[in-house]
Symmetry: C2
Subunit: 430 residues, 2 copies
Amino acid sequence: MKKTDSRSLKSFIGEKVILEGWVHRIRDMGAFAFLLLRDPWDVIQVVVPQAETVRDIPLESAVRIQGEVISEPRAPQGFEVHSLSISLLSPAIEIPPFELNKKDLEVSLSLILDHRPLSLRHPKQRAIFRIEGEFVNSFRNFLRQEGFTEIFSPKIVATGTEGGASLFPIDYLGKKAYLAQSPQFYKQMMVGVFGRVFEVGHVYRAEPHATSRHINEYLSLDYEMGFIENEQDVMKVETRLLAYALSRIKENCAREIELLKAKIPDPPEEIPQLTLAQAKEVLRKEFGKDLNEEDDLDPEGEKFLSEFALKEFKSEFLFLTSYPVSLRPMYAMPDRENPSLTRSFDLLFRGMEVTTGGQRIHEYQMLVSNIRKFGLDPDVFGFYLEPFKFGMPPHGGLAIGAERITARLLGLENIRQACLFPRDVNRLTP
Amino acid sequence: MKKTDSRSLKSFIGEKVILEGWVHRIRDMGAFAFLLLRDPWDVIQVVVPQAETVRDIPLESAVRIQGEVISEPRAPQGFEVHSLSISLLSPAIEIPPFELNKKDLEVSLSLILDHRPLSLRHPKQRAIFRIEGEFVNSFRNFLRQEGFTEIFSPKIVATGTEGGASLFPIDYLGKKAYLAQSPQFYKQMMVGVFGRVFEVGHVYRAEPHATSRHINEYLSLDYEMGFIENEQDVMKVETRLLAYALSRIKENCAREIELLKAKIPDPPEEIPQLTLAQAKEVLRKEFGKDLNEEDDLDPEGEKFLSEFALKEFKSEFLFLTSYPVSLRPMYAMPDRENPSLTRSFDLLFRGMEVTTGGQRIHEYQMLVSNIRKFGLDPDVFGFYLEPFKFGMPPHGGLAIGAERITARLLGLENIRQACLFPRDVNRLTP
């Protein structure tokens, strides 16, 4: 008898199989019973000929079922399993704090997060992370195909990327160190080695946020590419990357998309662009919202611009470009034509910024003098500056927040819903 | 004209192409010159008809070359590129602290690590990380094929996995927190959700090591699988995983293997096993080395046992099993037949432990009483214990140290050679 799971059960119709999972629900029909088995991928309807053999098994117990797969047009998936024997592998000894077999987990987010290892057993909660995983895996696979090399940069660092704010201090064997805010310096330096690099890793921001769009430890999807003309090359790669990832999600996560009733956008062929100045003009004219030249967009502005892009360009994605120097870090490449602007961009998706990127300064002297202009001390950045003396090619890159883009993709209100174990100002466990 | 690189240059013989990279070496032949271009993958021989056009380009400058690919039996790879034009994209402005175009980088490891972004430009240094990347990618791809789900667990935690030693403290917004030593608790809890999970991520050990086999931040390749019979199921998956990864490395990293003169072992079909007691007997009889029943192996013991396995079993891999309870953490499953032993294992490879794994306790009561037996307080582990009340299936897993196995694979003496930016008691930068 072959061990299988809900993903391939259909191909076993007429055969005997072994299934493993958790008791999701028992429907006692008197003479017989339906046992809904939640295996690692889906819920399977199992017919148990003698109800009394399963009546007393507590919900969420782990079981192994030997059964025969039978075609049954009235069953939810067109087949059901007729149980031959059930072994109780590990009984549940308490009643879960919420009902995991309801269509939705109808409890507060805070309760969901307090009991994360249990709430994730709900099929809809679990499905979020299968889709997020597919996005992350597509990110890596696409970039590998494009000649990018994966790197793993240190998360314990001596210096912050942007000069010192928002860093978590660590006691590092008696020395002062910090958690990395971003792999920025490392991925840039590695362009000088591998030409094109990417990294998937946690980054840390010590900001006492309690908003629905921030967490203090998040998964950053970074890439950086050398030998570019300008930031447009970086944006072209992202456009193709998104098209690839969205196609893979549609192909490989059909069941999860159905469960979550998610609207996965069509893979973009091209993404419309506005300069930040044009975007502010749109906000003024179309939404009566006034922002100064030096202001960054606020959440409302991002929402309005996404609405505008959908109406005007029929696009759920919108690139914003040409951010002023004052809104970008010291390594952002100034625009040669207009040095008060940088060759940088953000990507808005469904009302929120999901990517920040741009071309970086690759000339040593320009970088040193820019660090000084920002009121920082070049000596602090010694190890970062060194490779810039040795032919750093023109380069640029970006970072995508994995939880944030997943939340937008699935229409989740709070970024915490797309993080297995979120860390914020109030939450350090589970 | 098409942009290409050294990986596919051979298919362009007779055509004009664009190449990008760094000036690795210039050989001035008087009338003409050879320019060795180091692109992101290899070194390409470029013939420059007028030596004076390149004579003054500093080594390590980033250049773009338009040229024609010509078959040339005397050239190292059977072809060379005849330059049509060279653009200097970014000139080097200093002389590197070591010669990057020598066959080997003949300087101390400490200098190599001090100037990591430069030393990595050496083809042999760079090759190490291409092979490590292939191993990591194979780990993920194999496990995905086997129905494992990728997870990303938090690295900021409130409690250590083993009770509190070796933890880096963080100031977490005014609260005390730590860097995760291992994703152990999280991967176990996620078995209750996804059945089988894996994670690739950094872990942290606050031990003031200065040995060649330890670093304080390392890349841990973890998996954990539910519905097992015992630890042998975990070991079978690892055997197949190693066979897969070694085949992929041989297939995809032929150039790097050649450069490093690495001896990649044949993929194992089966890996021999000794219990720890048997292994100690071997050490006593064959090597005159006495260890007590409660002693763990020391580096010398691991070396001797690897020698023995190679001689006796013709295997570079050796599983050691049945470690005593006193040498394993509180979550290790005791052996039913002999409760002073656990259902755990280590994997030795070329004289060093590269994997630790085993079956875990899945019964709530047994886990709570084991925590007490270890002198720990179950209340501290509340969030970890909760899912064990709800049908945790029999499960087990393991962790492979990415840097350590890569170092063994490539015959590197120091684990730091297989880490892009190592962190140790003396090193926080670059």
